[in-house]
Amino acid sequence: MTARVTPLALSLLGVAAWAVSLGVLSGRPELLATALPILLLLATLARPASRPDYSIAHEISSDRAFEGGAVTVTVTVEARSPLALIELLGPLPPGSAVRLGNHRAVLTLRAGATARWSYDLHFPGRGLHDLGTIAVRVRDRFGLRVWECRHVDPKPVRVYPRIVPLRHVPRPAHVQASVGDYVSPALGEGIEPGDIRQFSPGDRIKQVNWRASLRLGQLYVTQQHRERNADVVLMLDTLAEVGAPADTTLDLGIRAAASLATAYLARKDRVGLITYGGVMSWVRPRSGPAQYERVADALLRADVVFTYVAKDLLRVPPRVLSPQALVIAITPLLDQRFSKAVLDLAARGFDLVVLVVSPVAVTRVALAPSLAGDLAGRLWALERRSELAALRRHGLPVLEWRPPEPLEAALVAARRPRIRLASAG
């Protein structure tokens, strides 16, 4: 706890010195009497100061929120000695805003009294914030001396990206061994009928296809397609971003990644994540609700880190980027290094879908409407159309998402036919 004299004391000292000087120069004792209240007040600084005794506790309504959500911060102050004036500066992390109440408070407390004050913080964008630090300033009863300290009690808050429900997501070309929602070309236990064959010992009676058996004069059984899950790896481009804060191409890409992860995990798929940028990181594909937490935590930390280095996807372990996985590359295609990485994956035979977050639409929303801006936007859109066409010529399915249109509208174009038994070979 640091003690110091307030600016008010310096002001009072200046005014008192001025009054005394004027009194001596003018020879009017009234001016000395005028200085008397100020001198008496300043004389209290001669008293030994006793440090204020109090305790502060604060709590938050939730340690998780979604973009656009709010968290209530409640601060409780318990005074063990009289607190003439206590100023509290509650946490207000960058990227948040006070929606209700105020993050600063001024209180006066008697010994033994308790005060509680709360305010709502609004988080427009994703992020990992700490609401654990409260700056405290206690003034003595004359307002001339102040004690300052910081109350630190870590309270992390995770603000997750907004999720939109997706009915149609790109269908993986390959399936894995675990049970899932995709109809596999392989035959076995399942719901969808696949083929019929002659009855063999061990077949169950309920599998007998009575219509075929009566027509052909022998027992035939119906075989079903197996239902299997798939590996989906979301590859997020963090090399560059454009747009207004909280609505940049990266923010939109992260929302798309979170929505896709939620949709695939609901289908019992294993979902992994690779953030490809100045710092490359990954989350190994797994399934289940806990995996969403892992992916979302990685997405919270995703940010643009400038680098001249082109990262090599060979660094990613095969268990993260398995050859059978569906890779969904989410990118604004602002950096050629990501395009090269995508083409590299396609050349290695990965099942790949490129979801392009249109930077043109995002930039247009961020800029004030003008003729020059509109013309530049149209030229940029033409240039990007040729870039996307070049990618399509390599056989890549490229989906362009132009916010604020819904993500689902962009994904509908990626509907693939189900792999049938005949085509499975």
Partner: protein, 164 residues
């Protein structure tokens, strides 16, 4: 509320000067205008400058009328200066914050207590000065007053410095 109190003190300062010397009314109005700016804009340095300005105008008023010595209005003037400076300071502190009602009550109670303390101190000081005055030579009085003023300001400055 706290800004109202500070404004009231500025008006009281102007009124005291205007009653002492009505010809300085325009100067007091200028001081009042500056005080209003300081209180509305919450500028501590301007409030300090306004307090010094009021002191200059009050000195001019005292010199112009050459009235007999009256302590009580001068004490009131000093108290009003304290309220103006503290009010402006408190207005800065409570800007855009959640304020509990007790804060203003605490400030008002303190100013009332200060007023009572100042009154008692003034009575004692006048009694002491009355008993000391006959013993001091007339020629040494200005020098003693200057030395006393300098010493008192230096003591206060050392107290402030020690506190810092």
């Amino acid at each position: 509320m706290i800004r109202l109190v500070a404004s009231g003190s500025a008006i009281a300062l102007s009124a005291l000067v205007a009653f002492t010397a009505p010809e300085l009314t325009m100067a007091t109005l200028a001081g009042l205008l500056l005080a209003a700016v300081a209180i509305i804009a919450r500028w501590r340095w301007l409030a300090t400058a306004v307090a010094c300005t009021f002191l200059v105008v009050y000195t001019a008023a005292l010199l112009s009328v050459r009235a007999p010595l009256t302590i009580v209005p001068a004490l009131g003037f000093g108290l009003a200066l304290v309220v103006l400076l503290e009010g402006a300071d408190l207005a800065i502190r409570v800007r855009a914050v959640s304020v509990e009602g007790g804060v203003v009550r605490w400030a008002l109670a303190r100013w009332v207590g200060l007023g009572a303390g100042v009154f008692v101190a003034a009575v004692l000081a006048v009694a002491l000065a009355g008993s000391l005055a006959p013993t001091l030579p007339d020629a040494a009085s200005p020098l003693l007053a200057a030395a006393g003023a300098l010493v008192s300001v230096l003591i206060l400055a050392s107290l402030v410095r020690r506190g810092a």
